[in-house]
């Protein structure tokens, strides 16, 4: 039993295991790249793929390859990776401590000659070396006829901190995973949001804080009506008015509301021939990008197509090479949406019932279309805004982990450790040195040290 534990510990301490695990994790991530992942598709797209390639998808699903980043294999590899990390680092602390605190006095010149850099300086002594090295911020330890100097003595501990800071990422990642709440909400202008979420994911632990706000204003900005370059959403909250937008979420405590989409929110009224109001609704239609959307009122289906700027919608700008003209001509992949700025709004509406078209026409604000003895009036228009809502704890641990990793990496590779040793023998000063990471580049630094000692009077 003892032998088995010793073997396992030896395996977990092994740097070869670290390397194998990094290769395995990279291979798994590569699989995630070439095999379509469920999370990256809409449920409809995924179902469509599953229907078309049933056997293949079933096979991939069986091995967890369509959700490879959360598959037992990946989680197992991560688990081993962190275990290996902790065991390696903990096992290294005692030897590192000894190395960092030891004053490694040289005993004979033969040991100096074995070091990467070595020079013999005639007629110079310990005091000369001390003043030069002290000026270069070396810690200097002299004895009668030999010395030891070290710069950035505790730098090797940076390696431990670097690797252990991955644990902050792990802990932060686990906490965010178990407390993660994701939802969506569509709120129209002047509508108050008070917690009606379309929940995408409930937290496994903990609750979602309550919040309420009213959308006061939505103002998209387009580059000459073509490219959406900004979006301003004004919220009325308990803390006062907040101006948010794309890249500027509304954050309240650990809750964040990310703006993901906007659309138009028209008020339609259906009246009878006598002018009596039969029905009215403020709708949230997704028609800004040229899509057709439908809604139902009083058992009728209304197919809508929206013109944000009806007056100039059909005008062309052939031969114009200005930026806005070229933007309009550019393909959809270049972030173009058709005439987004609402300057002359109009709806083209087709009214249907049981497949039969009962009426159709173009409506501008306060205009109407007659159908089946009734009329539908386009009374008013405003926007709706869609939020992606997120909440989790432990995010600060993740960010701290990232920060520590970066800071320690910089410190470790800039302030790496240098050791210089010297012995007086035969009236000459024998000096040798070595650096941790860049021994050949250290040769210039060492040559400079030797030169300065040589020049001392």
């Amino acid at each position: 039993m003892k032998n088995m534990i010793r073997s396992i510990t030896r395996l977990l301490k092994s740097l070869r295991l670290t390397i194998i695990l990094i290769i395995c994790l990279s291979a798994v991530f590569f699989l995630g790249l070439i095999i379509p992942q469920e999370d990256l598709f809409s449920s409809e797209q995924y179902l469509d793929w599953k229907t078309r390639k049933t056997d293949l998808v079933s096979f991939l699903e069986f091995f967890g390859l369509t959700d490879v980043y959360k598959s037992p294999l990946t989680l197992g590899l991560w688990g081993l990776f962190f275990l290996n990390l902790v065991v390696v680092m903990l096992s290294r602390i005692p030897s590192l401590w000894r190395r960092c605190t030891k004053v490694d006095m040289p005993s004979e010149t033969a040991s100096l000659k074995a070091m990467k850099q070595y020079e013999v300086i005639d007629g110079r002594g310990i005091d000369d070396a001390r003043s030069v090295l002290k000026a270069m911020r070396y810690s200097f330890y002299p004895e009668a006829d030999h010395f030891y100097a070290v710069k950035n003595r505790f730098s090797p501990f940076g390696t431990i901190i670097f690797h252990l800071s991955f644990l902050l990422l792990l802990v932060g990642g686990v906490i965010t995973f178990y407390t993660k709440f994701r939802a969506e909400a569509v709120v129209a202008v002047n509508e108050t949001f008070s917690g009606r979420y379309a929940v995408l994911r409930y937290p496994k632990y903990g609750d979602v804080p309550r919040t309420t706000f009213t959308v006061k204003e939505v103002k998209p900005t387009y580059y000459h009506k073509s490219v959406p370059v900004d979006l301003t959403v004004v919220l009325s909250t308990k803390e006062g008015d907040k101006v948010i937008g794309i890249n500027r979420p509304y954050k309240t405590g650990t809750l964040s509301f990310v703006v993901t989409d906007i659309g138009v929110s028209p008020l339609f009224i259906i009246r009878g021939t006598d002018g009596r109001e039969l029905d009215a609704a403020v709708l949230k239609l997704k028609v800004l990008n040229g899509e057709t959307d439908t809604f139902e009122m009083m058992g009728y289906t209304f197919e809508t197509f929206f013109y944000p700027d009806h007056a100039s919608e059909t005008q062309t700008d052939a031969g114009d090479t200005s930026l806005e003209a070229m933007s309009k001509k550019a393909p959809k992949s270049q972030a173009i949406i058709r005439g987004g700025e609402i300057t002359d709004p109009a709806f083209h509406i087709t009214v249907k019932k049981d497949g039969a078209v009962l009426g159709k026409g173009l409506m501008k604000p306060r205009q109407s279309i007659d159908f089946d003895g009734k009329k539908i009036i386009f009374e008013d228009l405003s926007y709706w805004v869609k939020f992606y809502i997120g909440h989790e704890y432990g995010l600060w641990l993740v960010y701290t982990g990232f920060s520590v990793i970066i800071i320690v990496l910089i410190v470790r590779f800039v302030f790496y450790r240098r050791d210089i040793k010297g012995i007086i023998e035969g009236g000459s000063l024998h000096v040798a040195g070595r650096a941790e990471y860049f021994p050949a580049l250290f040769s210039d630094e060492f040559a400079e040290i030797a030169e300065q000692i040589r020049k001392r009077h």
Partner: protein
């Protein structure tokens, strides 16, 4: 492209083509004179490349950091900037351009093929974090490219130990150290790129990490370079092994930037209109 930008960029790409040919000629025929002149031409091409970027800036009002074309334009500029830095600092490393200049040519060429239309920055990429994210990505890209260039020099020098032409390159330990230094620099800046991307992603998409293909592949690239550092420090991989590894590892960076399109059809990093966010 803006008219002036178009002129500068096309002259630049033409010059990079000539410089690449000169570098290859100088290495194949071991002609030191040509090698030196290629270095001067790199400086000229760099000035024109910078002028192209400035012309685009004047036309759209922001630095080229968003689309595939802009990434190619900016990314290749940083690689050439690193090359120039190495050329000015280490005269014996004049051959580093044999790897980096053809690489920049390919980057810029790839960008030009990806519809370099003039569009202002869309709302989704208008963020302070974008500049930090892209700036550090370029630094990492440039450093990794130079490390790969040094790897090529190392292998060439090793293959022809008796030729006088290669004797003028730095000695092996120095080349090895420099290669490692650029890998380390790339590794640190790559880490900043990933971290700043995560912070930005939280504000833009609501999640700091989505296992998006670009995110995942940048992590894989970081891990590969982390592995290279481990192999050197703990298992003594130096010299030839290290040179081969850094030449291979640059493929990870290339896939992250340009190859993802060939593997996947969906990525949060394909910035389109609002509906794509």
């Amino acid at each position: 492209m803006a008219p002036l930008e178009s002129v500068f960029v096309w002259i630049t790409i033409f010059l990079y083509g000539i410089i690449s040919a000169l570098y290859i000629y100088s290495i194949v025929f071991r002609n030191e004179k040509v090698l030196g002149r290629a270095g001067y031409l790199v400086g000229v091409a760099f000035i024109l490349h910078t002028a192209g970027i400035l012309a685009r800036y004047a036309a759209i009002g922001n630095l080229p950091v968003a689309s595939d074309y802009e990434t190619g334009l900016g990314g290749s500029w940083v690689v050439v900037a690193f090359t120039l830095y190495v050329l000015l600092r280490h005269k014996s490393l004049r051959a580093v351009g044999v790897g980096t200049i053809p690489f920049s040519l390919l980057l810029l060429g790839f960008g030009l093929m990806r519809e370099p239309v003039l569009v202002p920055m869309t709302a989704s990429v208008r963020s302070f974090w974008l500049y930090i994210h892209v700036f550090f990505a370029w630094l990492a890209f440039g450093a990794y490219a130079v490390a790969a260039g040094l790897g090529i020099i190392y292998l060439l020098k090793e293959k022809h130990p008796d030729k006088e032409f290669y004797a003028k390159f730095p000695d092996f330990p120095k080349l090895d150290d420099l290669m490692f230094k650029y890998v380390v620099f790339g590794f640190v800046t790559d880490a900043v790129m990933i971290a700043s991307g995560a912070i930005w992603a939280k504000d833009l998409w609501g999640n700091y990490w989505s296992w998006d293909p670009v995110e995942t592949w940048s992590l894989v690239t970081w891990l590969i370079y982390g592995l290279a550092i481990h192999l050197r420090l703990t298992m003594g991989w130096k010299g030839r092994k290290m040179a081969r590894l850094v030449i291979f590892a640059i493929s990870g960076m290339v896939i992250t930037y340009f190859g993802i399109n060939f593997f996947v059809k969906t990525s949060l990093h394909f910035f389109q209109a609002w509906q794509e966010m």
